[in-house]
Symmetry: C2
């Protein structure tokens, strides 16, 4: 275990805070519930953004920017929407030295303002589909803040699309869910369960909400991305209509979908260990750190020269590489510094390595003596990308194994209640309950229905709450 | 002139709004003073961001994110700062259903909150320099809004740095000013005059403010980027100190610098013409548009096939290319559509072009028959990048010529007053006045001192306001 970092097995919540502090990912703000994303944490978010943004654009979406302030009356238009968001709103009452005639809401999400604009921009079926996204900050007042996971202000992207038919909008909803799942698994190395939310858990204003649920290191679930089919709910109250090809006015069918900086929290909690952060190479701001080790002045110049050459040869290949040639700190200190920050691959180079024409490689996901191996200097620039790919795959496999080992099937509430208290994880159960049963379940076990997985098994069984026969299985878990 | 676009010589302000509407750059929001940046306008901003962000990172800056909400008491700490910003603040008084104990300010700029954090992060000279930047939205209540130029909410970047010495901080201030000037000239094709702001025009809280001033199509000035040396003004009130190498507590010396979405307004007003927008290739979301022209079905397939192949060959070379193969609209309609949107290069390809193994190229900056030329299909993918570079240079030259032709030297207030009324532009004058003379000047002529150019001529002359002898020349102009 690293100094200053609690053992995650002893206290996962405290471990999480320790990692955030020691890896300099974030800091708390003077305003309760807000956070500062420090450069290293923000660089992870930038990599998440770049990766998702490319996927959005490949699928025909364009970025735009809508205002931070929304007239309070807009939020009140859609009944479920206002019910869901009213308790979390921040309200601007004064501007430019005067009290405002109508208070402004700091956007908690932008469906209302975007529908207002869609009504202006969409006239005929030729204007459809309209596929927009925005990267923005949003505010939802948070009483129990937790860095990255729950903060009053957070950064996210929100996609908003309008379509001519329900079928197209539903396709879009699932397309974006698949994009999130693909990103989570192949970039963040986080296996997820894509599924549908229950009525109780769905987005305020949606017809159907979909989610990707990931398992954290402690067996809890993190809702890591959501995609909503909004039907014509917002279109009806904002009069977002179009003239179809038969010259009839129709309401548009809409979707919205988003992921946020909480994904950074997910990366920490899926991959981190007792020594700090562990970053999958595709998200890591620094993929390779080179530590020169020279015990005397005579070898120092030679070692540094070789290390610099190495850095350049890796940078040319697009590998994000740092050379830690800072003076006054020992190799051990540097090892720890970059280990805490989760850099996937460390290369140590000393005089003896140089003589033998090699470096010593230490992958973050297999630390200590056992994981170390040598790479010949001659082939190193070509070898490193492959090694990073291997680390990426290993981290996904490890996370998947963790999820599988902590996913259980139970048949009764008693069994579930007892089991989850001892072994937090995902529990697959037959389910036929409604919002009341969900509340009861949560009261008794603190668990919630995370999702109805898209991938459903054959057969039927009895709902653990109602005892009724059902063909539907859901995932239960404790969740952030 | 394009339909729906006012002649800029008749009414520049209305022309500006027409271009924004017709090119679908932005739209007004339901909240007064706010705007929606539409996808095409936002894509220009994304290119500005990418280009500047790379320059910031190359010079060692890292991005971070600080909160939107700042305690009101923070803003009040620095006397000049609060005086400058108080009238423009938006205030959150309610959050999470309750009245807040201390109202929160929606950030108009982040010096105060960042200093609060710097005090926590900076301990010793080893922590310096601290070089941060953030891309964010800010709010300054605006009574006379104008799309991109003055809006209550706008997007910007704000760099914030802390240094051990005044010398280093002053170097940084000018380094960032040079980066802005380099970006303006070499990416946005906007020539600028870098200079220092007068006491009256400087940033609220700065010791010295620097600016790049650009001339718009109507001869008015647009402050297009600013860089401030803050001295120890914020450090003193936020106790941002460090232990120097001699073990003494010292205040850090700071800088801040920013550019905003108003740059998009600058691009419109420097380059646009009676037919709409004109975009310099390095900023253009679409650099090349291919218009297939087929008068009958038999040639249509062949032309489309060639056009698609062309698009692919350009995309592979990194040229941002669109193929407008939409049906149901005439080539003339398409020409106009892309012309209004300022796409730098249009390629027309028809059956006869195909037979002759060429396309007809029409650069946006030399429209009509005279500007057209042929490019052999065989060499087109290699030729286009060079053609775009040429257009980029031509646009800069044209803007520079416009600025030079509209920059005048005058020696007396009477001469200036008469001249600027007839010929808006930049006026170089001897200057030795203070804030009072600046106010008088503005009252009488509506012009302000835009900057004291870094590049000063030899010699001396008499100040046009005070009549005193001085070695300083300033630029006067009407400004946005």
């Amino acid at each position: 275990m690293a100094k200053n970092i609690t053992d995650p097995r002893d206290d996962f919540a405290r471990w999480y805070q320790d990692v955030i502090r020691e890896a300099e990912l974030a800091d708390s703000a003077p305003v309760r519930g807000c956070m500062i994303i420090r450069p290293y944490g923000y660089a992870i978010w930038e990599n998440i953004q770049a990766s998702l943004d490319a996927r959005f654009k490949e699928t025909g979406h364009r970025n735009a920017y809508f205002p931070l302030f929304i007239p309070e009356s807009f939020i009140r238009k859609e009944a479920q929407h206002v019910e869901g968001f009213a308790p979390e709103l921040a309200i601007v009452t004064h501007g430019g030295g005067k009290e405002l005639e109508e208070p402004l809401v700091v956007r908690p999400t932008s469906e209302t303002i975007i529908n207002h604009m869609f009504s202006r921009w969409i006239n005929s079926y030729r204007d459809l589909p309209m596929l927009l996204n925005q990267w923005a900050n949003v505010v939802r007042w948070e009483m129990r803040p937790r860095a990255f996971l729950r903060t009053t202000e957070f950064l996210w992207q929100e996609g908003h699309t309008a379509h001519a038919t329900e079928e197209e909008a539903r396709e879009e909803t699932l397309r974006m869910l698949r994009i999130y799942a693909d990103f989570a698994e192949n970039v963040a190395a986080i296996p997820v369960i894509p599924g549908k939310k229950t009525e109780r858990e769905k987005f305020a204003g949606a017809v159907d909400s979909y989610t990707i649920e990931a398992m954290m290191g402690n067996g809890w679930a993190l809702q890591s991305g959501t995609s909503h089919y909004l039907g014509t709910n917002f279109a009806r109250v904002f009069e977002t209509t179009f003239l179809d090809s038969g010259n009839e006015q129709q309401y548009v069918h809409q979707t919205s979908w988003g992921v946020s900086t909480r994904l950074v929290g997910g990366v920490i909690m899926v991959h981190g260990d007792g020594n700090g952060l562990r970053l999958p190479p595709r998200l890591a701001p620094v993929q390779v750190v080179i530590i020169p080790i020279a015990r005397d002045e005579s070898s120092r110049a030679r070692v540094l020269e070789a290390a610099s050459a190495l850095r350049e040869s890796l940078k040319i290949r697009g590998v994000r590489t740092e050379l830690d040639d800072s003076e006054g700190s020992s190799p051990g200190y540097k090892f720890n510094y970059w280990e805490v920050r989760g850099v996937p691959l460390r290369l140590e180079i000393g005089p003896r390595d140089l003589e033998e024409g090699q470096v010593t490689a230490s992958p973050r996901n297999d630390p200590g003596r056992e994981g170390k191996f040598s790479i010949p200097l001659a082939s190193l620039p070509e070898d490193v990308p492959g090694i990073l790919d291997r680390i990426q795959s290993e981290m996904l496999l490890e996370a998947r194994r963790h999820m599988e080992e902590n996913t259980h099937t139970v048949d009764t509430l008693a069994e579930f209640s007892e089991s989850i208290a001892e072994r937090p994880g995902f529990y697959s159960v037959w389910w036929d309950g409604g919002p009341e049963e969900e509340e009861e379940l949560q009261r008794e076990t603190k668990a919630t229905v995370r999702c109805i997985p898209l991938d459903q098994p054959e057969g039927t069984g009895r709902c653990i709450m109602t005892g009724r026969k059902t063909g539907t299985r859901v995932i239960l878990a404790r969740a952030y």
